[in-house]
Amino acid sequence: MTDVSRWPFSTVLVANRGEIAVRVLRTVQKLGLKGAVVFHAADRNAPAVRMADHAIEITGSTPVAAYLDGAQILAAAKSCGAGAIHPGYGFLSENTGFARAVESAGLVFIGPKPEQIELMGDKVRARNFVEKGGFPVAPSAIEDDGPATFVERSRTVGTPLLIKPSAGGGGKGMRIVRDLSVLEAEIERARSEGQRYFGDGRLYCERYIENPRHIEVQVLGDSHGNVVHVFERECSVQRRFQKIVEETPSPALTPELRAQICETAAGIARSAGYRGAGTVEFIFGPSGEFYFLEMNTRLQVEHPVTEEITGKDLVLEQLRIAAGEPLGYAQGDVSAQGHAIEFRIYAEDPGRGYTPTTGPILALRPPQGDGIRWDSGVVQGGEVTAAFDPMIAKLIVRGTNRNDAIARAEKALAETVLLGCKTNTAFLRRLVVHPAFVAGDVHTGFLDANPQIAADPPMPNGTLQALLAAASLSTRPMRDAADCVPDLHAAIGEWRN
């Protein structure tokens, strides 16, 4: 058991919500530390709020705005005596200003040094840094001060190419160009989107790999200069550049390639003197070539799959590192067993273009059993609204090998009961048994190329009848109408003389 008695903080404030707030608090409290959380009124009944030792209400013009209000969050931390702030993912987790403010206030920011956030947050700077370090990057063009020359330099990158906002992330504002004739128009559009989403219209573009795979590597670095990698994750199953399924190990990698990619990631982190937990993302081509994509200087949504195969608690490692402890283990001590897959449960309708859905959570029965992990921020009785991101839970499945994990996943998805708000569980169930997925034959365009997986399959007649039966017997006017028929006439039934 970790000895936290000499740590510089005894209370950790989680500046986040939903499943990640629960996840972080779980480790915090398991260590014997106090856990605090901020919450907007919309999250008043959230599980994290009930779990926490301190819960401080924050306000904002919108719920999201509250969680982006660094000043309020800092004040909340101070008010409850929190010595450290864990930012989770999203929101302020990669906000250099916030990290700096936390440290200036004398609190511990559970994450990397602010300058590391700043470096990796700027996609252009990050790319240059990595390239200078001798690590592989995709052919690209960076926009210096010359929008005009940018178009020309982009042309030299060759098609297909991808235009990205420098300040962007999370897949927003990216455009693929296959035909140079539309290059200039697409650049203009990407610029205005970048301005709109991130307040920054600067762009860069790079060579686009057709049917790429998205492979990322988890790294950990302490404040004593030690950096290790904790293996890779494959996150190729995406829609609109957002991940849906992540797994480890990647079925696309040979042991040699695995070692190569993971060492490259560790090397990048080392060269930045990286402190904390981070993820280096690569784009992986069909012939085994890979290029640096970006580095996320925070804990990722999909961290649980790494935890499942290594036995490591990554939040615990974050806290230890933030407390100043050395890692205490070398690369050779890090080992993995088995296979793990994570499924993001979204409140959305895959059959209708993945439009977000809302509704009350009238019944929730997560799957249970060996090798099943359910990380969620919603409970039965709660409500899914349009106020927040539609991801409501993660199902993580572990198996002795990939097929075992797939079998477990299919069963667990079938057993997952979530009623009142439409989710993508049925879609995930179809996906996980799709022959291409089972063969490990996926890439980031896989779902777009196979729209039939998302589409609602035709309903078997037996199912329709069963649904109508269940619904009829659960609907008062129908039930009452049937029940009030006297016994005699019910027994005689539909008879005519």
Binding site: C484, V485, H489, G493, E494, W495, N497
Partner: protein, 535 residues
Amino acid sequence: MKRIESKLNTASAEFQANAAHNRRLAEEFRERQRKARDDRPQRDIDRLRSQKKLLVRERIALLLDPGTPFLEFSSLAANDAYDGEVPGAACVTGIGIVSGRECVINAGDASVKGGAWYPLTVKKTVRALDIAIENRLPVVHLCDSAGGFLPLQADLFADKYMAGRIFRNQCILSKMGVQQVSVVLGHCTAGGAYVPGLSDYNVIVRGTGAIFLAGPPLVKAATGEENTVDELGGCDMHTTTSGTADYPASSEEEAIAIARDIVAQFKRPQKTHTEWQTPEDPYYDGADLYGILPRDIKQQFDMKEVIARLVDGSRFHEYQPAYGTTLICGYAHIWGYKIGILGNNGVLFNDSSLKGAHFIELCNQNRTPILFLQNITGFMVGREYERRGITKDGAKMIMAVSCSEVPKFTVMCHGSFGAGNYGMSGRAFDSRMLFSWPQSQTSVMGAEQAANVLADVKIRQLAKSGRTLSQADIDAIRDPVLGEFKRKQSAYYTTSEIWDDGMLDPVDTRNALGISISAALNTPIGDPRYGVFRL
């Protein structure tokens, strides 16, 4: 109660011959019924469709609860009247379940002469409302009628039990606290306007429904005023301005759904308590009835065998098994309800008449409803029986039947002749329901006998004037009388004239009785009281 032991040999030639005969009669009955219910000239159907109207049975199907029985009355009313052009007397009546409540349904059949009221239509409607009154059953009227059939107005307008009685019955139902809903699906003109007018609730369909004491042509003729149907008595005027109609509906389907919702608001009646146990199907096969009933009306059969096919578990508690054996009396259950049964096994003698009267008294004391299974040629005649007081004994039985407070049900199984009809609770004796089997015959005496009597009179008359007659002459006098008698004693004639509440395929009798008994228990059973029994 022990099970009746059947003594039938279902393999015997006699049984098989009877069965073939009676099955054929049943099939004929079903076919005639089907025709009367469904066969209509295509142009009449087309006309209704073009008026956006549903057929009466489509309306009833929407009205009744799914998966429930409908006991239709007098489906073959008027089958031997008006040249057979008014099947079912242009209306459909019966007992059905609406929103869980037992209701009398009174529906005009606009596919027959526009739903016009013939004299037998009026009689059938009055009878349906009498059933509602006697059994305290709420009524749903599905109104769609062209009005009274003028050429026969003398037979449907003025007398006590003619058209006025419909409206009088509606008022009495209301006075009794028994609810009525009318659904106006066509024109309710003149007298017909009073059906919705006298109903506690009514629904009217926009466009096709109308209520007025006189339609636009009559109004124009009377006062010169011009109106459209809607202006004069349509849905919107009556539901917003005059308040004559309660609920507007945009379609027949909506109107009927509203009517169902209205009935769902009715307080359910408190059922009279009567002995009841969990129902049990008869031990013997109901289809055996076809083989039990003889082909010849004069031939006897054992009524116990009939009882065994009607009652729960075929179990029967016989009263006075050794005395008055030409009348079977005893207790049984039908669909769980305890009932007393009187069934004929021959002519009524002194002892059987006394037994019958006594048993009826026992049933009244016990508050047990009574079922009469008729197969009776009459009371025994002759000097010995008169000296023993057969007239008095028959009178006692008739007194007991007439004064009986418990509900009575009668089934004409075979023959029903002479005063035996009375003693066994014939039509005049207020049975809540009375049904006829296809082969049954009802008349003052058998056809052969009557024909002989009448021919005899004629022959003697002619003999007085000196004429002697050959056999052919005698036949020429006798045969038309015989034919006329046979026609008017048949079940089809009985049902045409609405002397019964409908013909039944014998195998349907058990369900019909179960439904009838249940309906009858909405009325309290009074204490027994009788007139003077001539002892």
